[in-house]
Amino acid sequence: MTAAVHGSAFSKSEMMIVAAARELAGQRVCFVGVGLPNIAVNLAQRTVAPDLELVYEAGVFGARPARLPLSIGDPTIVTGSTAAVSMYELFSFYLQGGLIDVGFLGAAQIDRFGNINTTVIGDYERPTTRLPGSGGACEIAINARQVFVIMRQSARSFVEKIDFRTSPGNLGGAEQAERIRREGGWLGRGPSVVVTDLGTWHFDDDCEMRLDSLHPGATLDDVRATIGWQPRIAGSLASTAPPTDAELRLIREELDPGGAYTR
């Protein structure tokens, strides 16, 4: 992470959050995860997607948080929301029922096909690092119509082979993923966007991740140095537009005044 800079300058985390929020333009119903997804969707609701309905796995539909909630179960997501329901109802009828357009996930490890590990680094029985586990992630990955991932890139996180598959992405590639989703009657079509601190990735026809846009200040060398496989780069690689003043003001003044996410 870079230190935060002043004026219209911005941190890598701010760029990542802004890029993720912009990807939500045109989306209707978004399932909010804890941490970075939380701030990104709240920014999107205030910018590119004012009609975005926020669904919190804690059991809230149509949240309009007056402040950025630290946890996804904060009281501010309830007061003034459209519906507060049991988790049974949220997971059964909203998520598994197919009403979620975008499920937003973080990851500790991801592979080239967007398969995600948030469970352990190392062996399951005696891990090097015990991570939080699935929470709702594995059912979001399967049942949300599409999945957005937001995470920082590093050689430890973008890996050739993840240590544990917590949430299925495009499995071993397009052919296998499409067959299994079809036969299994999955509603989701898997991951479609990965936003990192260096750039924005989408998925090729063969379901492998492809870098489509490089964030300002990031280089392809940075990208290659923080990834465990030979990355696919779009022929028409774009430059991500830097955060606008309005976006930065929202993040700094409204959403994360303490800098918890954007340091």
Binding site: V34, G35, N38, E57, A58, G59, V60, P69, L70, S71, I72, G73, D74, P75, V78, T79, G80, A84, V85, S86, M87, Y88, F91, S92, L95, Q96, T119, Y124, R126, P127, T128, T129, R130, L131, P132, G133, S134, G135, G136, A137, C138, E139, I142, N143, F164, R165, T166, S167, P168, L171, I180, E183, G184, G185, W186, A260
Partner: protein, 307 residues
Amino acid sequence: MTNPKVASMRDAIADLVRDGDTVAIEGFTHLISFAAGHEIIRQRKRDLTLARLTPDLIYDQMIAAGVARKLIFSWLGNPGVGGLGAIRRRIETGDPAPLEVEEYSHFGMVGRYTAGAANLPFFPLRSYFETDLPVVNPLIREIESPYGDGKVYAVPPLKPDVTIIHAQRADAAGNTQVWGLLGCQKEAAFAADRVIVVVEELVDEAVIRADPNRTIIPGLIVDAVVVEPFGAHPSYVQGAYDRDNQFYLDWDAITRDEGSIQAWLRDWVYDLDGRTAYVDKLGPDRVASLRPAAAAPSGSVDYGQYT
């Protein structure tokens, strides 16, 4: 009601929580009964199996205090902040003792309580496909649809010996009402053999009967009602007090070190005789700072008198 259930926290935990029990203190971020967890620590219960979607700070504290031999869960962390050090050390290093874990997803845990509450042998769900979770947890099993349209996964019922929940209010019979996040308290309570309800406020039966749709748990399944205002701190109670986010942030440092956790437990649990002392120690300023900025009334609806 003929059988008063109102009890002190000390008596409720002493009478209803036994060594070796499976205990679920439920509440998703909202309404977590830290007061009950601390009393379990004080009474030095042992060999518990602790079930909860999100073990959170309360199970980190309980596991640091040595009450548990096993954890059943779906998300292990300090939400929005970081990790739970005591639990992680038990898992990563087996120090000071190995902790058995049984792991699901959120919906899997909700489904387990639901099957327990509904006396079903399993709960079916569209999850776990192509993941490693069924590999490491053989209780997550495939089940074939009897209509020839493929497979889903099943999780087994979870029937805690004791479920403990915190709520805004209950009457003396244990009829309990909650607003705000509902989590899976209802399912966890119906699934349990014994139920302890901890409330901010004991109300007259007439308050409950004025709004029967607000009732999430009937007194029928409740064994004890404990009145313990502020008993959910540092978690929160919708309308009564805010989540103490500063405490969650502070815990991140405390939990990194076994010594600092034990010191915290001594200062805030063992050396206090109950929640009143805890609130006193917290101090009136901290308590006042957590009150909502203003009221947000639901408004009243009319059920009508039909005579």
